[in-house]
Symmetry: C2
Subunit: 295 residues, 2 copies
Amino acid sequence: MFRDHLVRHGLLVETGVCGVYGRGAEFEDTVERVDRLVSATGAEDEAEVLRFPPILNRRHFERSGFLTSFPHLAGAVHAFQGHERTHVQLLRAVEEGGDWSDSFPPTEVVLTPAACYPVYPTLAGTLPARGRLVDVMSYCFRHEPSDDPARMQMFRMHEHVRAADPQTIAAWLEIWLARTTSFIGSLGLYARCLVASDPFFGRGGKLLADAQRDQRLKIEIVAAIARDDRPTAIISLNSHQDHFGEAFGIKTPDGAVAHTACIGFGLERIALALYSRHHFDRRRWPSPVREALGL
Amino acid sequence: MFRDHLVRHGLLVETGVCGVYGRGAEFEDTVERVDRLVSATGAEDEAEVLRFPPILNRRHFERSGFLTSFPHLAGAVHAFQGHERTHVQLLRAVEEGGDWSDSFPPTEVVLTPAACYPVYPTLAGTLPARGRLVDVMSYCFRHEPSDDPARMQMFRMHEHVRAADPQTIAAWLEIWLARTTSFIGSLGLYARCLVASDPFFGRGGKLLADAQRDQRLKIEIVAAIARDDRPTAIISLNSHQDHFGEAFGIKTPDGAVAHTACIGFGLERIALALYSRHHFDRRRWPSPVREALGL
């Protein structure tokens, strides 16, 4: 099993929770090198760099529509409210191995589901003529406990987010699609580029996924990680059309609702794909790959 | 106001939630440089490097005793459970601006309250003769919404964690106490070293704090950040005695319960102290400080 190998080589450390791992020194270093390669790939664009902690304003989250499409993946933050008596009850529940959520009502924040979510609210208002381009990277949470190490509950995503008019967005996505070829090529990964869809919730989800696919709104670069027969997305390019522009009041200088798009690199997944493709011993990776990563 | 200056200079970005900020490119770069200075300060110890996402196994969290001492600072992760009908109710609650926590029961994880918490469970069992030394860094969550930018709800902490017999622990803390002098000195900060206590919850908390202080179990390096008259801890050294050894079954080779201790550097706080002490324009920082940070 790929997962057991990762643990035995000290690349991942188990925590007793499905899909939640510590990272050994070398794995973390590989993730950081992949992160720097993403930065280098888009460097000429001189994107505005922003970094957010992995939590999001709950009101912004509600407005984003995530709960409509992906309630099953969301994580909300709850915190203690009460005085000494509530505390006694809390500790009794802990002692008895029970549920202590009664004294933990919701807070003003939720966990970030994708690195780009905190960006859209900051774009509210009228964009400059060239639009905006933001570089973000953060840990993201998806509640999908799985034994597959390529499907972690918390993982890092490095994204470029573009807001502008539809033509500018389309041209920008084309440029990044070409860049992903070089990115994948430099790492020697077996990967394929597919028209894809998001894992929408519920029975209505299939219709939404079909529509997304028909309009070619999501393109994924997939690679074999844990299993050869079920490749996993390591990069995705997403056209949101006017979805976030509408939700957060982002406008182009002519007063139209701005379009947005993003390209996201799954840093742990790319690192895992490297170990899966080349070897668990990083010293044995092919020299062009080592060179691309500055090893 | 210090906070307004930080926002005006693009160092911090507001998110609409008290104590939750985005980081501008330069501020993030300063945090990363402080992080590397922490690594350099302890480099000769060759600590084992581990990195965890900012979530923690809920069972480990319960066992750690955090809920006994600091329930008011804890954050728990809740996630959606239900099918289509629950989803309809959820969306209705969102639409009406209501509370949608009914369909979000607790998950197996909570937010990490300090970078060292995920380490102790991994130390369970018998330590090697020299004990263990682990280097961790992660975002941490503390539910204490505040206007003071030095009191963020999510911030990064870089820690060294030591597990061994009591004498080894005491000697290790002495070495780090000396190192903090050089660390602070190289950054030109006005700082003081104090015997301190944790913010224990409730009426009983005062007794616990007094006992902690009497036994000198917590030492803080404090510096002025937002206000000159109320310095904030930027580094803390903590002796846990046998608390975590007992909770997680960590033993020394002679079968005794191991003692643990940690030293934690608050990365955002140190960065903020630098901007507060030296200037909002980083180019004007004194050359020894710029040199220490590799600027």
